[in-house]
Subunit: 429 residues, 2 copies
Amino acid sequence: MKILIDNASVVINNDGIYSIKTKSIVIEDKYIKEVEDTVSDDEFDLVIDGRNKLVIPGLVNAHNHSYMTLFRNSADDLPFDKWLFEKIIPQEDQLSGDNVYWGSMLGIMEMIYTGTTCFADMYMFVNETSRAVEESGIRANLSRGLVDIDGGGDRRLDEALSEIKDYEKRDNERIKFSLAPHAPYTCSKDYLEKVISKAHQLNLGINTHLSETRKEVNDIQDQFKVTPTGYLNQLGLFDQRTLAAHCVYLTEEDMDILYQKKVNVASNPTSNLKLGNGVAPVKYLVNKGINVCLGTDGAASNNTLNIFKEMQMISLIHKGVHEDAELITAQEALYFATSAGAKALGFKRLGEVKAGYLADLSIIDLDKPQYYPRNNLIAALVYSTTGEEVETVIVDGKVLMHKKIFKTIDVERVKYEVTKINNRLKRGI
Amino acid sequence: MKILIDNASVVINNDGIYSIKTKSIVIEDKYIKEVEDTVSDDEFDLVIDGRNKLVIPGLVNAHNHSYMTLFRNSADDLPFDKWLFEKIIPQEDQLSGDNVYWGSMLGIMEMIYTGTTCFADMYMFVNETSRAVEESGIRANLSRGLVDIDGGGDRRLDEALSEIKDYEKRDNERIKFSLAPHAPYTCSKDYLEKVISKAHQLNLGINTHLSETRKEVNDIQDQFKVTPTGYLNQLGLFDQRTLAAHCVYLTEEDMDILYQKKVNVASNPTSNLKLGNGVAPVKYLVNKGINVCLGTDGAASNNTLNIFKEMQMISLIHKGVHEDAELITAQEALYFATSAGAKALGFKRLGEVKAGYLADLSIIDLDKPQYYPRNNLIAALVYSTTGEEVETVIVDGKVLMHKKIFKTIDVERVKYEVTKINNRLKRGI
């Protein structure tokens, strides 16, 4: 497949500064072949007129539980414990693997719809989210959530390892796997040690929740006389490439550990605000040199999977809370949502519109009131874009959505299936 | 004109609680005639199929400077003083009345596009924003900004009064006028007294900025030994119906004054965050019983005029900053953006989809990934809606946008004109 995006405005990264240039882009197979003023090839399978369009690197959603779209708008304006134990867990208990497949597919559909081309996911049933990723054509770093406080820890780890082993044969570079010890408060110390040892042995990355709530920090501190970050560090968890979600409550020493251990932090501003958990110290993480990326968290606490919203939120919230309008600029937010995310999820040559990079990109229709008049388009991307303006999405050189029509997902089927599951959940069976 | 919206999901206000009912709506001339399970009339000029659509009250943007769309994305990530004095004022100095007309028209276009049907505006040139309001068909409470620190205060007041007098003859109930002493720090005490006396004499409402920045509070305190709120109260400003924008820094005593004087507070969460000004004490204002409504502020500091974003922001930011997920619910945010705004702008029988109310409403297309599966649609409105889902807007019984096609605005002309103005501004002439 050979694609030309002709004469478009393109987000270009020049030594860490994003700017907009008018370019034509050639995509061949999985890679971006050229980003030039005029291209040398002249035979294409698909030509996309780039006039009044903006081509951006595909966005990376670095923390998600995509199947949780099934619970969207079902538990709002509730405190964390009530939300989790009275609303979410009782619904989760009723899910089948097939339900998780359809919930994940809806999540993927929504991510593509809003320009996300790659995501990290932590889920409950193996072989379901991965099936949805494989079929839809999106890119992902996947991990079965590992919990043992209620028993069943070994079974879950076995499932995770078996799924990873299955996929080794498929030679699909779009899908990576990590091990996901859920959180310091849902895994025993023995279990964490077992999972960490497996990760070392198989050289797998780790995806975990860390310091999301004050309660977590207090509980771990009471039990182990150390912060959650210090605790995981003592266990050697950070010796593998780690993606740690949330990190709302950190000490100076915690941040030093995260920096030294090159831990990637997925900040989830909307979810942290919505559940009343607070505001992560992103300003300090960035100053330390820690790789910060962006996630939505699940749609049960967000209530969308829209990374444009997170870019805007992380910038606005930090400016406001620290009373400093220069903090977390549009440039930084865009980096969090692209290159930083790609790095955190372990994908190389991803996150820029650049020759030789993986052909993961989104095309925005600029013919909307919110883009007039035309000033700084990087600012427009972060502060004026809702996500609905995305009209074409390409992943791994393949068109997943064009002019808002999905090419790999049966949209009506997804809507039908999730509605059926939701009706059953509402009846409580 | 007689319109039927057939068999739609409708946001109904029952004793202060919003819920969703399937209803058909008849609009006749300027009013909603029926909201019923089955309607009695059967002859209509326009029938809108309401299946998989959500009818909501038109949103009210209670603080705006619509002409400032001209500066959108031109001055971002800058501290307040640099933003205002180095970027915005030099551009404003170059504007003509005709420029303000086109900037306002773009602003109105964007507001209609995202479901806003009524707004409050403070502007620089008379007879321009009002012309755009009249032609576009939107509803507004308008006011020429009154400043005298640089001289010219009397001229501005005369212009404002002359515009108001002109409009008295036109018998257009869609447009109201207020007097707009800009802020305690841009008007001398004598000038404020003159404006307040005129407002009393002509029984006009007042639109003003109040306690937006720490600097304002400190400066007024230094000069007059009283808070900005106490100062305006001493001058009798609050004796007329007042719409006070921002109110970020208030003492307990200030809030008592605002409550006793029935001052309406237009909170602008995005603008306050973006300019690094902070977070307004909305939790305390609401607890006092003060009427809180929502504004975008101008597109130079937002960078959109999208009230869906403000609903989401005011809810999320207060939950997060106060670490209380039950604070500012979806129900409250929707009230701020509809009935509270209508009240603040002085419009009666506005802000609900209800028989006998003014026919100002927006219709949302629910056939989008972010609305599946279908749970609480009030939560969906606030937490899952971007604003782009609005496809039809009716004001005063007249269709302004249908299936995303504007009926009263020449969209291509607006884009052409604002681009031309912007090119001139960029060249600095």
